[in-house]
Structure formats: structure tokens, C-alpha cells
């Protein structure tokens, strides 16, 4: 067995073949498919959480300063805004991860034009 290659060569060879079989980039990280329900829960959770936290922060301000009830009111308002920001962020990352298929049939809209 004089011409036997050292195992490192075999290993890197194997690694190369595995990478090629996986699609080149060596990433084995295909994210599992997300069900629409979990996505919906995600959007709702992001929005609701921001509203609740905004309200709580406003309530905290009211407790510290004599601004009641304006802290809670403004906090809720800002919370709604932050919720929208959260949802937009989630939607943006989702759309980046799942680009729309350009060959997909377009959905007809029901506007009369």
C-alpha cells in the first residue's frame, strides 16, 4: 500500500463531493417551510407586543411624572406605530427570503377599469 493517499486528501475530496451534491455553497441550512398560520401568529404577535409595551412604558412615565393620563395615551399611540414598524420589518425579511416567482400567474384584481 505504498501509493495510498493520506486520509486528509480523501476527506477533502469527500467534502468537495458533498458540497457539490448539496448545491455548491456548502450551506446545509434550508429553513423549514413556515405554515401560513405561524406566519400570521408572528405578524399578530409582533404588532400586539409593541402596543402592549408602548402602553406599559407610557404607564410607567405616568407613574413617575404627573402626566396622567397622557403618558398611557401617547404610549399606546407610539406602540401602534412601533407595531406597524415591526410588522413591516418582518414582512420585509420574509419577502427577501421568499422572492416572488416572476413566472407565477398574476392574480386578477376585481377592480373595474
Amino acid at each position: 500500500m505504498a501509493d495510498r493517499k493520506p486520509p486528509e486528501d480523501d476527506l477533502s475530496n469527500l467534502r468537495r463531493r458533498i458540497d457539490a451534491a448539496r448545491g455548491g455553497d456548502g450551506s446545509q441550512n434550508a429553513p423549514p417551510p413556515q405554515s401560513p398560520a405561524s406566519l400570521a401568529l408572528r405578524y399578530g404577535g409582533e404588532f400586539g407586543a409593541a402596543v402592549i409595551v408602548g402602553g406599559l412604558l407610557g404607564y410607567g412615565v405616568d407613574q413617575l411624572l404627573p402626566t396622567s393620563p397622557w403618558g398611557v395615551l401617547i404610549g399606546f399611540m407610539l406602540g401602534f406605530a412601533a407595531g406597524v414598524v415591526n410588522v413591516v420589518r418582518v414582512a420585509r425579511t420574509y419577502n427577501q427570503a421568499h422572492p416572488v416567482d416572476p413566472n407565477a400567474p398574476s392574480i386578477p384584481d376585481d377592480e373595474e377599469d
Binding site: E46, A49, A50, I52, V53, L57, L78, G79, A81, A82
Partner: protein
């Protein structure tokens, strides 16, 4: 009540411990958590013991799990994140995954069910807060005051900056809430749904006649839901770990 769908979430004390008036008993929830950690640790030790060049099946599972989380951390936070946070994220992932999975099993050996720790918001909130404070502390230590850039996105006119900063702060503080609620709500809702559908089976069967025949339908639904719950158990652990990575990335690279 055997058919109370909430009954499975009752905390029962196993070893009562009382520290200065605080109830710190070892409960069925603690037991399930210790069990999850033990199963994960024992499995990885056993599977990786041979550390063979040509792996056994168990070793493949262990290595793939490692590679899966490693790839996820690397994709989201880069090489620096892998160096700093990989053990943390891997531990979180395994803990949540094992807790979810153990909770999928009905009871045996006289234990009438296995508790699911992730169905308690205390547990998930603690995990989410752990991530939250890790982000703040690491972010402040690594970036100093530049960490606060995460509250001030670039390219915003100075006039509306105070408003944006307030909104960003609320958005930042809402993270641990949505982070923990997502895992908790998914697991809780899934387990309640399973129990509700399963309880229809004996109810219909006891009604007799044509209803007894109909009891096959909720049984089939329960089986299908069980399959779905296994997917959810994995998916929620994955989502929790992925969000952890995204948040940790903010600590390393503040400013969007």
C-alpha cells in the same frame, strides 16, 4: 377531571423547597426541564463517543444538528457571531427542542403525563429575557455608545428623529415579549387543541349508536394534529433560535 384540556398544565410540587418564604419547590415542570437537558446531554455524549470517521447513524444525527445550528448562526451573524454565540444558541435550541419533544409524549411508568415546560410563559419569558439582556450587555461592551445607533436609523430627517427614536425604543422593548409569546402560544395552543380533540373520542363513543361510529373522525384528527405538533415542536425551537441570532446580530452590528 380527565377531560379538562387545561389540566395538563397544572404545576405539581414534587420536592417542596422553601427558601426564605419563597416557594422554590422542585415541580413537575422542573423535572421535565432537567429531563430535557439530561436527554440532550446524554444523547450527544453517547452519539459522539466513538467520534468515528465513518459515523454511525446516531453520530450523523448529532453532527447534522450541530451543523444545522452552526450554519444558521453563521448565516445570520457571520464568523464573529459563531465565535461568540454559537454555544449559547445551540444550547437554547437544544433545550427548547427537547422540552417540546418530551412534552409530545404521553405519560408512562405511572406518570400521568409529561409536562411541557415551554407551555409556561415564565420559562419562555426567562429565555427571551436572557437573549434580550445578552444583546444589551454585549452590545454596550462591544460598541459602547455606538450601540444606541440601533435606535436611530440612518437617513431620517432631524425633525422627526425624536419620534422615530421613541418608536424604535418601543419596538426594541417589544422584542422579548413577542419572542417569548410566540413559542409559548404555539405550544400551549397545540397542546390544548390536541386534548380537546382527543376528549371528543370517548365522549362520542360513550354516546353510543351512530355517535360511536363517528368517534373515528376526531381520532383521525388527533393523529393528524399529533404529526403537525411534532413539526411545530421543531419549528418553534428553530424560530426561537433564528430570532435569537437576528437579535444577537444587532448587538454585534448596530445600525440597520
Amino acid at each position: 377531571m380527565a377531560d379538562d384540556p387545561i389540566e395538563q398544565f397544572h404545576i405539581e410540587s414534587i420536592v417542596p423547597i422553601d427558601i426564605a418564604g419563597l416557594d422554590a419547590s422542585f415541580t413537575n415542570a422542573s423535572l421535565a426541564m432537567v429531563g430535557g437537558v439530561a436527554v440532550a446531554a446524554l444523547f450527544f455524549n453517547w452519539a459522539m463517543k466513538p467520534a468515528a470517521l465513518i459515523p454511525s447513524r446516531a453520530q450523523v444525527v448529532a453532527e447534522q444538528t450541530y451543523g444545522f445550528v452552526h450554519g444558521m448562526v453563521k448565516d445570520t451573524t457571520g464568523d464573529e457571531g459563531v465565535k461568540k454565540f454559537f454555544p449559547f444558541v445551540f444550547t437554547l435550541f437544544l433545550f427548547i427542542f427537547m422540552s417540546n419533544m418530551l412534552g409530545m409524549f404521553p405519560g408512562f411508568f405511572g406518570v400521568h403525563h409529561i409536562f411541557t415546560p415551554t407551555s409556561q410563559i415564565v420559562v419562555t419569558a426567562m429565555l427571551a429575557l436572557l437573549v434580550f439582556f445578552t444583546v444589551i450587555i454585549v452590545g454596550l461592551f462591544k460598541n459602547g455608545f455606538k450601540f444606541f445607533k440601533i435606535f436611530a436609523p440612518s437617513g431620517v430627517p432631524l425633525l422627526i428623529m425624536p419620534l422615530i427614536v421613541l418608536i424604535e425604543i418601543i419596538s426594541f422593548f417589544s422584542r422579548p415579549l413577542s419572542h417569548s409569546v410566540r413559542l409559548w402560544a404555539n405550544i400551549l395552543a397545540g397542546h390544548i387543541l390536541l386534548k380537546v380533540f382527543a376528549s371528543f373520542v370517548p365522549m362520542l363513543f360513550a354516546a353510543g349508536g351512530a355517535f360511536a361510529l363517528l368517534s373515528v373522525l376526531p381520532l383521525a384528527m388527533t393523529v393528524a394534529l399529533y404529526g403537525l405538533e411534532f413539526l411545530v415542536a421543531f419549528l418553534q425551537a428553530y424560530v426561537f433560535a433564528l430570532l435569537t441570532c437576528i437579535y444577537l446580530n444587532d448587538a454585534l452590528h448596530p445600525g440597520h
